[in-house]
Amino acid sequence: KLAGKRVTPESLETLEEQLLSADLGYITVESILDVVERHSKSDFIQKVNEHLVNLLPGKFNPTPFENPTILLVVGVNGTGKTTTAAKLAHLYKKMGQTVTLIAADTYRAAAVDQLKIWGNRVGCNLVCNEKTAEPTSVLFDGLESARANKSDVVIVDTAGRLHTYSNLMAELAKMYRVVENRFPEFTLRSLIVMDASLGQNSIIQAKEFGKHVKLDGAILTKLDGTARGGIVFPLFQELGIPVEFIGIGEDLYDLEHFDPNAYVDGLLG
């Protein structure tokens, strides 16, 4: 309903509501409106589209890892980490890489069972230890096994944790250090999995997690719902964290590369 309109107070208000309801946050929205108000005279929506795309990371293009790589999958409870870990395993296996999945959620009921089922569906190695409550020990065993079978990609599923629990954040930091110190030949990347329907707390999550592990990228899940995950804007603009993948469903193949143009089209759509 914004298409082709010139800048009027009404069209600005419609744009504001559309962006606010997409969880961009009022700070990001106010600065966007400011720019649009000052610059756009005609071709309003095209200008808004271009401006929004420029605020986002470029199109992500995953390629096979040249050096053995560990993907540490982290995030708060229920965002889709386990399902996403499986989707990533499937993606890299399809590219011809040897994949190992590590079930490092030793806490939640049936977390290992859940990843085991996914591992069978993907058809890749899976390392778990249902007798330990120590995620670091499973991580260690998993990486030794990945080293031995020359895995190209190791995907580590971790327990959901709220960043407000310092002991859980310390546990994550410890896992990160174990990898850095004991398995330095691997490239280590941490990806934070964020639920597109969550609001401004997502920025706080990324800030806090980022204090304990270096966050290289984010994966935005449940974009097949009505939520628009506008958090991608402040994530990149304020924290420099690019969204690399988006989750668009509950199956193995429901993972897409982040494309800023497709994303903004969907946002303004």
């Binding site: 229920g78 049936a110 639920d195 719902g225």
Partner: protein, 290 residues
């Protein structure tokens, strides 16, 4: 940081010698920003601010000795009123009483089923949980393990038709003379017609005493859309707002309450079995307002 924002808004309002239309408007803008930051839905925030402005412009405030203090009270009272002033517990009148849990993926339904079972058992009721999520890998196993922790039996058939499983589970509860049956269902998108039809058919068939919408306390603007859709699809009786042990302000509480008119009955305060508190509108109002 929203806490500081409301603190500073209120500090500056309290310091005002008199309340004028201008400073009510300036404050209104600040309050709207603070509410958006707290994840209150933008149109709910808009109407909240409008209501507060109208009340503040009333003579009571303008004539008051401490107009700033009065203004703050208006905001607080209005927030508590929005959230639903009285606390409403579960209404379990049939035998067995049936509680149906519904909500989006990952909201905390399975965990909340265990928490509810634990709470009811501790109050002397016998409970049976039914594993009606046949889709998510190891969902049934998760509820079985939660049941073991709560020391509550779980009725499950592995895979199958969720409606049939619920019906047979209730029959089992009847034969065991259980007081309460809790139906744990699969997470579903309100956009998924088939899945919404499924939960409607379960509700129509078993006529639950309580249909609780389980929502993530960190939900943003989308809370209005999903709550609206579930409210239109099912005769909801209440809401459980989970993961409130985090530092999300919880504005979703206002949005969900506004759009469904249903009481928030419980909030989730940890991953553990005892992590379920009765909803307290005053505490949540303070949290949203910082």
């Amino acid at each position: 940081q929203i806490t500081e924002r409301f603190e500073s808004i209120f500090r500056s309002v309290r310091g005002l010698g008199k309340i004028t239309d201008k400073n009510i408007n300036d404050t209104a803008r600040e309050i709207r920003r603070a509410l958006l930051d707290a994840d209150v839905n933008f149109s709910v925030a808009k109407s909240f601010v409008k209501t507060v402005q109208e009340k503040a412009q009333g003579t009571k405030v303008l004539k008051s000795i401490k107009p700033g203090q009065q203004f703050v009270k208006i905001v607080q009272d209005e927030m508590v009123a929005l959230l639903g002033e009285k606390v409403e517990d579960l209404e379990l009148t049939s035998k067995p009483s049936i509680i149906l849990l519904a909500g989006l993926q990952g909201a905390g339904k399975t965990t909340s089923a265990g928490k509810l079972a634990n709470r009811l058992k501790k109050s002397g009721k016998s409970v049976l949980m039914v594993a009606a999520d046949v889709y998510r890998p190891a969902a049934v196993q998760q509820l079985i393990m939660v049941g073991k922790q709560a020391e509550v039996p779980v009725y499950e058939e592995g895979t199958g038709d969720p409606l049939a499983i619920c019906k047979r589970g209730i029959e089992k509860a009847r034969s065991l003379k259980n007081d309460v049956v809790i139906l744990d269902t699969a997470g579903r998108l309100h956009l998924d017609g088939e899945m919404m039809t499924e939960i409607q058919s379960i509700s129509d068939a078993v006529n639950p005493d309580e249909i609780l919408f389980v929502a993530d306390g960190m939900t943003g603007q989308d809370a209005v859309k999903s709550a609206q859709a579930f409210h239109e699809a099912l005769p909801l009786t209440g809401v459980i707002l989970t993961k409130m042990d985090g530092d999300a302000r919880g504005g979703a509480a206002v949005s969900i309450r506004e759009v469904t008119g249903k009481p928030i009955k419980f909030i989730g305060t940890s991953e553990k079995l005892d992590g379920l508190d009765v909803f307290d509108p005053k505490r949540i109002a303070d949290r949203i307002l910082g």
